[in-house]
């Protein structure tokens, strides 16, 4: 466990997350890709904190990242439910209303 | 030494699970004279039973769920300090034991849902959905209830929390204690919160289980009730403090008493429908717990001020 290995792991998670978010058709799967990328960001933050500068205010930043994740998920679920209710769709391509 | 402690801990968890099962037998219409033997007979019967398989079951996820419940109970029990004082021995040492307890109880969400999903059968899935609905209802009051002892003791460390109690917290924060106990019944799927396993859906998440699978899940359920009661000892029941007997004995006695009490309640109170439970849990219990937290915070701050702190 060194800073480099932690950052490489984080980079791999973010890479897979980007692939997922771009390639998936189902809204919930797109959210899963985004979540995976955010997990990578969280890990990178944690690694940088521990190995370079364990200052407590960066921990607070970590809390903010976690909070952002919650907001993203909750809103995403709500939008997915709304789309499903309205048009019976769950595909990003079909959610044309989002473009207007 | 650690190995010995681990074996002891598993034995203690098993004993509490046994007690929970026996109490259930004794007060739910079973014969009281054979109640203590009943869990052993039932286990032996299940061990000999042939495993029934469903079509296209998700064996991987089902196995995870079946095997996972009991270890979660043991892990929860491993956080509990068995000695006296702020440096008492626990198997898993953590300065934030209360948060770990919460994390372990949340993994039950995953396991019970997977238990319903795994067999690829309708009743199980209905049970899994029911559990998630009721889990949302009991988990929030439980989470807030867990913070009450932490606020009063000014620490997330179970040893410090146990040591800080001159009067057991259960006595002066009864609402938090009640919400915690409801949570324990919730994550062990017992009594009023047993609706994911009730006969109206053919046993729900337990419907397709047989043989060793059924044994492991039932043991896990009883063990979770026991572990929840054990964790309540440092949280609400003043840990190992008590007259005459040594601290570890007191911890176990208190845990056994609470296990029996919860299992008695569980065998007496019928299962509540999740939507009704939700209405009560979120419109009454949750605000009540928040008021309880306010009271605890004010008392804790008054104590700090009186002691010359900030």
């Amino acid at each position: 466990m060194t800073l480099e290995t932690v950052l490489l792991t984080a980079a791999a998670l973010i890479g897979v997350g980007v692939y997922g978010a771009m390639s998936q058709q189902v809204v919930v799967m797109v959210m899963m890709g985004i979540e995976l990328a955010v997990a990578g960001v969280l890990l990178a933050l944690g690694g940088l904190w521990w190995f370079t500068s364990p200052d407590v205010s960066l921990q607070t930043l970590g809390l903010v990242v976690l909070a952002a994740m919650t907001v993203e998920m909750a809103t995403g679920f709500a939008v997915a439910t709304l789309l499903h209710r309205r048009d019976g769709t769950d595909m990003t391509d079909m959610a044309a209303g989002l473009h207007e | 030494m650690t190995l010995l402690a681990a074996v002891g801990l598993v034995a203690a968890t098993l004993t509490l699970a046994w007690l929970s099962a026996a109490t259930g037998v004794a007060y739910a219409g079973g014969s009281r004279s054979t109640a203590l033997r009943a869990p052993a007979y039932e286990s032996a019967r299940l061990l000999r039973q042939r495993r029934r398989r469903t079509v296209d079951a998700d064996r991987l996820l089902l196995t995870l769920a079946v095997v996972g419940l009991f270890p979660i109970a043991v892990l929860m029990a491993a956080l509990v300090p068995f000695g006296d004082g702020p440096a008492a021995a626990t198997l898993l040492v953590s300065g934030i034991g209360i948060v770990w307890i919460n994390a372990f109880d949340v993994t039950v969400w995953a396991l019970v849902w997977l238990l319903g999903w795994g067999p690829n059968a309708a009743s199980g899935l209905v049970g899994g959905y029911r559990f998630l609905a009721q889990a949302l209802a009991y988990e929030l009051p439980l989470m807030f209830a867990l913070t009450a002892p932490a606020i009063a003791a000014g620490s997330l460390d179970l040893r410090v929390v146990a040591d800080a109690q001159t009067v057991p917290y259960a006595l002066w924060m009864p609402v938090a204690f009640a919400a915690y106990c409801l949570g324990v019944l919730g994550f062990s799927l017992r009594g009023p919160l047993a609706s994911p396993t009730t006969p109206d859906i053919d046993g729900g998440v337990l419907a397709e289980l047989s043989g060793t699978d059924a044994l492991l899940v039932r043991a896990g359920r009883h063990a979770l009730l026991g572990a929840g009661a054990l964790a309540a000892v440092p949280l609400f029941l003043a840990g190992g403090s008590g007259p005459l007997l040594p601290a570890p004995v007191w911890v176990l006695l208190k845990a056994a008493a609470l296990t029996a009490a919860l299992a008695w309640v569980a065998s007496r109170v019928p299962a509540v429908r999740p939507d009704r439970l939700f209405a009560v849990a979120w419109t009454w219990l949750l605000p009540a717990v928040l008021v309880q937290l306010l009271v605890v915070s004010v008392v804790a701050q008054a104590g700090l001020t009186a002691a010359g702190g900030r």
Binding site: E4, V16, Q25, V28, G33, T52, Q59 | D56, L114
Partner: protein, 193 residues
């Protein structure tokens, strides 16, 4: 569960967690069962949380595990509600613009990995910048209730707003639909509606 500095055991534990995290992350988009995809993501998150615990941030780590297991449980419901796939019954590809996505993923990884390896990161053990507090959790508690209280003050309302937004977006009817014009109907007695 406080780890002070990296011993061999820590290195091994981290390697296992990192490999599992990435493998589970890949599995999310490879397996053809919604339930398995969801819990693969859950596994990945649990590994990230435990890695944070290894790096002395037990509170953030445990909270990550706690939050993500709950979230994945809810996620599983959504996956089924909207996809309704049975395990192993319907293997199917739910992918579009696959090539671009792969390129973007690999490119992101390459760029970030290069940054991770090429930037001369400072090291607190050789160039003393600062050292971790004895009790990180307590220090963080004091920080968000003291120096960075504004963060807490901002996050709180944002969370409440999220709850409201979530409910407003997703709920079908209002309480008047459920309880009648005077909000005095028993929701269980549907005959009155």
């Amino acid at each position: 569960m406080q780890v002070t500095d990296a011993g061999l055991l820590t290195h091994l534990a981290y390697a296992a967690l990192a490999l599992t995290a990435v493998a589970a992350g890949v599995a999310v988009f490879v397996v053809d069962s919604m339930a398995r995809a969801t819990w693969a993501l859950g596994t990945s998150f649990v590994c990230v949380g435990l890695a944070l615990v290894l790096m002395g941030q037990s509170y953030l780590g445990v909270i990550t595990v706690l939050m993500m297991v709950m979230e994945m449980a809810v996620m599983a419901v959504y996956m089924q509600m909207f996809m309704g796939m049975n395990p192993a019954l319907m293997p199917m590809s739910m992918v579009h613009s696959h090539r671009t996505a792969v390129l973007a993923g690999v490119g992101t990884f390459a760029a970030l990995a290069a940054a991770a390896l090429l930037i001369p990161w400072p090291d607190r053990r050789t160039t003393p910048l600062s050292s971790p507090d004895a009790d990180v959790t307590a220090a963080m508690g004091r920080d968000i209730m003291g120096a960075h209280e504004l963060v807490m003050l901002a996050v709180g309302p944002v969370m409440v707003a999220t709850v409201v937004v979530g409910v407003v977006l997703s709920v079908r009817g209002s309480r008047y639909d459920r309880l009648g014009d005077d909000l005095d109907l028993d929701p269980d007695r549907k005959a009155h509606r």
